[in-house]
């Protein structure tokens, strides 16, 4: 990973520790700086209310985790917000734009790009072509310009360069000329995420980005997600693994049976009785922050320095950072590390 693509951010989004909520945290609480505001969005399938969200705001420049048991309505909410499904009622605004009834491709063009729980890569296109497809503003994608390479050749070079940088970051550069269908499940998740970033979105919505990913790749995926925040993007992601959520999320939204049942910083949410009842009642094996689980997590994280430094997890895991500080160097530092020093 290099700093090449990291925009010379004037604001250090990683170090911003101002409170996220305006006032007390709780289901449907207002945020200091929301990028996405959802009001009364409902979606029924037959008799069941798959989504019934009264009020929800997603904080800008933060990583928000959306958790909840299977069937809670997380994917359906993603589909509704991005125009892939139509709600029975409700409205929502993204960055000031009302989005109800807006076509999915227009939503993406506004800077709200999503990935899918069931990964969607274009199997019979190469990895590089998949990436190029993600780019915005390619005049050659218009039929009127397609025949004239002089009109789009330069932009194509820029896009290719941007794709190469991202592929390198996501460790897919060796696969650039392979068909995407030949990638492993985890690599496809990586490709889908990298492709979504080609359009330089403001809000990235990832539906279970870690699902089915080889554990060896999980750590680097987490780093990528945190880097997105460092680069000024807002992230909303669905995840089941509590350790992952605690590790990278600034804010956690809990859904159950279509409703938002709890919200707050990860550490608080995991203590919430409503969450334990709604979400974790069925998952006795999930560790809820007992010291044993925490130690395991720390051991895991210690393998990767860049993933620890400069995040808000420092509060929980910070005592390791000092020990490693001496060893931290350019090679392993990565984006997060340098931000931390700066």
């Amino acid at each position: 990973m290099t700093d090449k693509t990291t925009a010379p951010a004037t604001i250090d989004f990683m170090a911003d520790t101002r409170p996220i909520a305006e006032g007390e945290a709780g289901p449907g609480c207002r945020k200091r700086d929301p990028i996405l505001t959802v009001r009364h969005v409902t979606r029924r399938f037959g008799g069941i209310n798959a989504v019934d969200v009264d009020f929800l705001e997603i904080p800008r420049h933060k990583i928000t985790a959306l958790i909840g048991p299977n069937g809670a309505g997380k994917t359906t909410l993603f589909n509704l917000l991005t125009g892939f499904d139509q709600p029975n009622s409700g409205e929502w605004t993204f960055d000031g734009h009302p989005l109800a009834g807006v076509a999915s491709y227009k939503v993406a063009r506004l800077g709200m790009v999503r990935t899918f729980q069931l990964t969607k890569v274009m199997g019979k296109l190469t990895v590089l072509e998949n990436m190029r497809l993600g780019a915005a503003d390619q005049p050659g994608e218009r039929l009127s310009a397609a025949l004239f390479k002089n009109l789009w050749g330069r932009r194509e070079k820029e896009i290719t360069a941007q794709a190469e940088v991202l592929l390198e970051k996501f460790k897919l550069d060796a696969k650039r000329n392979d068909y995407a269908a030949s990638l492993s499940g985890g690599q496809r998740k990586l490709l889908e995420m990298a492709r979504a970033l080609m359009a330089r979105p403001k809000l990235v919505m990832l539906d279970e980005p870690m699902a089915g990913v080889n554990p060896a790749l999980t750590q680097s995926l987490l780093d990528h997600i945190k880097n997105l925040k460092a680069e000024g993007m807002t992230v909303l992601f669905v995840e089941h693994d509590m350790q992952v959520v605690r590790h990278i999320a600034d804010w956690v939204v809990v859904m159950a049976e279509g409703k938002v049942v709890a919200e707050g910083p990860p550490a608080d949410v995991m203590k919430d009785q409503a969450v334990i009842d709604a979400y974790l009642g069925a998952h006795h094996d999930v560790d809820l922050g007992d010291t044993e689980g925490l130690k395991e997590l720390e051991a895991e994280l210690a393998q990767d320095q860049a993933s620890v430094v400069g995040t808000e997890d420092e509060g929980i895991l910070g005592h390791h950072i000092a020990e490693r500080d001496g060893r931290r160097d350019e090679a392993a530092g990565g984006t997060a590390g340098r931000k931390d020093q700066g």
Partner: protein, 326 residues
């Protein structure tokens, strides 16, 4: 049996304008299905738009050649919009159903007796190609190409047909290598993924439908030129399926594949016809008549297609890797 004659006949098929028309229409299907994933089972309808649009504007409205061509193309675009507007937002199979029905409707409409003055009904239309042959730059005479000797009219229609095929192949090739073509291929693979990347999938599908349809329409005009007649019976569903056969033979997501497929299709038909008829006439085969042999040819094409699907499912020019994972 005159093997040399049979072989010459087969070679003649390779450059025949009908082969060119089949190749061009199959290229349209490649744009539809091979590149965009649109299931068009009504390419015969697009060809009919070309044939009738051209013939009717020439005969009924005395339109000059180029105006007649333009009218045919406009008909084709309108036809594509009629098919596309209600179906392209739906799943792929809806387009398939609507196209097959629309092509049949078009055929029945031109066959109705009430329209005999305009469409010629079941008898079709004749004698509308003077404008085309008036453009012929070749002086009168016979032109010997070695395996066939052509009249100046035959030569002119062949040169035009293959020049048009070559031009269309180049255009399609350039389009498919452009970012626009990349979006089409993305839609073929997963249209929701393409939507999530901010592309107006509906508009791209419509553009592809129109372009592939225009290729079919040009093919429809080409098809009528050597015959100087339009017969509604020629535009039935079997024409569409012959075109699909050409496409599958040659390779779906290729530019030259459909053209090569059309050549193979007609060469196989011609060879089997020559050999079977020869064998029957010389008494080698006694258990079938020449009429039955005519049917048998298409069975042979079917067998050739089956063998191809078994041993080379990607078609002659297709990329094996593109088929390896589906």
């Amino acid at each position: 049996m005159d093997f040399l004659n049979i072989l010459n006949g087969a070679l003649g098929e390779i450059i025949s304008p009908t082969t060119a028309a089949y190749g061009l229409a199959a290229l349209g299907l490649a744009v539809h299905f091979g590149y965009t994933g649109l299931l068009n089972f009504g390419q015969a309808g697009f060809m009919a738009m070309g044939a009738y649009g051209f013939a009717i504007s020439t005969l009924t409205f005395n339109a000059p050649f180029w105006v007649a061509v333009l009218v045919a193309l406009v008909c084709s675009v309108v036809f594509a919009f009629l098919l596309g507007i209600p179906t392209l937002r739906l799943r792929a199979d809806y387009l398939a159903i609507v196209t097959i029905a629309a092509a049949e409707i078009a055929r029945y409409v031109v066959t109705t007796n009430r329209l005999t003055d305009v469409t010629g009904s079941a008898g079709g239309l004749n004698g509308f190609t003077n404008g085309f042959y008036a453009l012929n730059p070749f002086p009168e005479g016979r032109y010997d190409l070695g395996f066939v000797a052509l009249s100046h009219r035959d030569l002119w229609v062949r040169v035009t047909a293959w020049a048009l095929v070559a031009l269309c192949c180049v255009l399609v090739l350039l389009l498919m290598r452009s970012p626009w073509g990349r979006v089409l291929k993305g839609i073929r693979e997963d249209e929701n993924a393409v939507r999530s990347l901010g592309k107006n999938v509906y508009a791209y599908k419509m553009q592809a439908l129109v372009i592939g349809g225009i290729l079919g329409t040009l093919a429809g005009i080409l098809f009528t030129l050597p015959r100087s007649s339009v017969q509604p019976a020629n535009y039935g569903t079997e024409l569409t399926f012959f075109l699909w056969t050409c496409l599958l033979l040659g390779g779906m997501a290729t530019v030259l594949g459909p053209v090569l497929g059309a050549m193979i299709f007609w060469v196989v038909l011609s060879l089997t016809q020559g050999l079977l008829y020869g064998a029957i006439e010389s008494g080698i085969i006694t258990f079938i008549t020449t009429t039955q042999a005519g049917q048998l040819r298409y069975i042979m094409v079917g067998i050739a297609l089956m063998l191809l699907m078994i041993f080379r499912p990607q078609g002659v020019l297709g990329n094996k890797r593109e088929l390896a994972f589906t």
